[in-house]
Symmetry: C2
Subunit: 414 residues, 2 copies
Amino acid sequence: MSELKGACIFGQSGGPTSVINASAYGVIATALKNPNITRVLGAEHGIKGVLNDRLFDMGQEDPAELELLKYTPSSALGSCRYKMADPDVDDTDYKRILEIFKKYDVRYFFYNGGNDSMDTCNKISKFMQQSGYECRVIGIPKTIDNDLYGTDHCPGFGSAAKFIATSCMEVHQDLRVYDKGRVTIVEIMGRHAGWLAGSAALATYAGAGPDLVYLPEVPFNMEEFWQDVNGIYRSKGSCMVAVSEGVRHADGRFIAESGDKDVFGHTQLGGLGAMLAESVKRQTGAKVRSIELSLLQRCASHVASKTDIDEAYMAGKAAVEAAVAGQTDKMVAFERSTENGQYVCKAKLIGLTDVANVEKLVPREWINPRGNGMEQPFIDYVLPLIQGETSMRKEHSLPRFAKLKKIQAEPVRN
Amino acid sequence: MSELKGACIFGQSGGPTSVINASAYGVIATALKNPNITRVLGAEHGIKGVLNDRLFDMGQEDPAELELLKYTPSSALGSCRYKMADPDVDDTDYKRILEIFKKYDVRYFFYNGGNDSMDTCNKISKFMQQSGYECRVIGIPKTIDNDLYGTDHCPGFGSAAKFIATSCMEVHQDLRVYDKGRVTIVEIMGRHAGWLAGSAALATYAGAGPDLVYLPEVPFNMEEFWQDVNGIYRSKGSCMVAVSEGVRHADGRFIAESGDKDVFGHTQLGGLGAMLAESVKRQTGAKVRSIELSLLQRCASHVASKTDIDEAYMAGKAAVEAAVAGQTDKMVAFERSTENGQYVCKAKLIGLTDVANVEKLVPREWINPRGNGMEQPFIDYVLPLIQGETSMRKEHSLPRFAKLKKIQAEPVRN
């Protein structure tokens, strides 16, 4: 291992989570203390901030405000959805990044995101190597969707799962308020994988949750759906459904995009939940309500999981420690084990190329045979990830989020 | 004051709140300890439970479970939306109620609800008096809408306001994640009064909330709305709007029901927020998202206000104490004062007939002149009501709600 001195850049990419800033704090707090890291720069809107020379000097922030990042949802530095070109086709961006890295003597690059971001890390790292510029690159995972390959789970998922389960329990209490019950359909995020929708089953496990859960992993059959709902509604007098926005026909088309006006007779302005509700109303005559948990799933930090916050922080910290110790071209991943019957999660490193662009789906055997509910192994998997309460600071009993000064960094003097 | 011995019936009516069961616990716990109250009966689905002879013996419940009612959202005994006939026109229901009261020796009737429920209380009380049957009747207010006349505020409102303000703060963090911002429209409950929508302004007060707030109290002008949104979006790069579901045209028609297909070209499946979002998209070209906070507003007990919980409990307790002390035909109301600069809330009694069927609206001067934001007196009014955190019990870091046995009561033996 060679010692490498220089500045680091940290950036956030893709859709935010309730705890993505806990990873930011893990990186920033650890890097600020490390003697090999001369300066900690935060990129505004991820890689775009590097390209646009919008880099904030995190050392000039108030340490108390930085600490509040642990409990502040959504990307504090701003995120992006910028897809880098293949450097063999167009290396303009990469040359610009190299220029900026030299301008600020950047020797460490930490990037917090999903699949695409790991691809970005990989391409940048390769280009730097080819250019003979020494820079260590470590990716940090995040996504409420929990669909990253190579890690037991992703920071951000546990808190989203906890919000979903808690909300489903509360909505379930509301289900039988009147003597004539109703069908309630809760639409849950997750376009490709059903980890979030499946988490609604935690509510049922805890005593009061959805009767039916539909994931994108199992082809969605509208006739069976109507049968399932109607059967439960007829026998119980009410029915609660959790459905992933990503449920699909057997041929892969999203149900939400079927847009079959002959069947539903309306433009799908209200999304999948509203569409399914309308169809159930017509098919069963039941009173139906749909609820879209919407953005709250990725930003409801007031009900975040302490486990998730701590692990998100750990991921950021591990990235810095690994890079300083000589690692590069890696992503921090989580490894789960059991010690004395207790859930334990440790950080490990996997190759950036190993993350690939593969989505990790919910194993079919964790979903029941009919494809409308979850099996115990799924519950056992998710439950440890939602444990513990946030220590969010409050003022006037409302969240007190981090306020950053975001002072543009000065280039190094030559 | 004459001493009156007998059973009491407690019932819940109308839409539930996060803390309606805290009032139930206030009634039940206080009544169970009172020597003049021989038995505490809970009516299933409010007055319907009386009519149907579905009365639970609350004395047979586990006291620890009863205590969890303080933190359990939605009507634990079930609610109803049953409108009693005018007894001069049809006294069938009233005769039946008298029959049931005699069957169980009921001398106290406590009813927890809104305007209609106070009307029900009033009619029942009058009928009992005319029939020469001694029974004391006390109403307990509840409504997230906060539109009951004669009380400073209503149990349930503070917790709903807190959920709305907290969620708006979190959603606001998400607003500027990408470098290209967007317009986010949050649709908030409150068909007739804007107390809940106005509470979104607490988020702005706390540092991060809606730029624009629209209440039903001010006629909604679509052109002005587009101007307001566009102006803020152009200058800030993003715009957050909180809008009450009850906003209306100057002629009183709900905007949500305008259904103008020529203007919006779609069926309004997604409700007001989705409709306004679509119109803003067309008018401004901005990226727009709408979020409906939906049922969560009345059941998100995990973020309930301790002040609201305590006051809801106090209202139930005060009802029992007043009735035992000889009061009848009253509703418990709240009186606010300031002691040593601190907010203080005390229970008082007002006549059931004084509650009337009048809706208490947000004073016009608490809304800004343009009708798109709140003034400081509104903030000063709401802020004390959201203070303090719930002591909700959790298991597996998920809510542990009260589980009642609901054992049907036996009639008294003659």
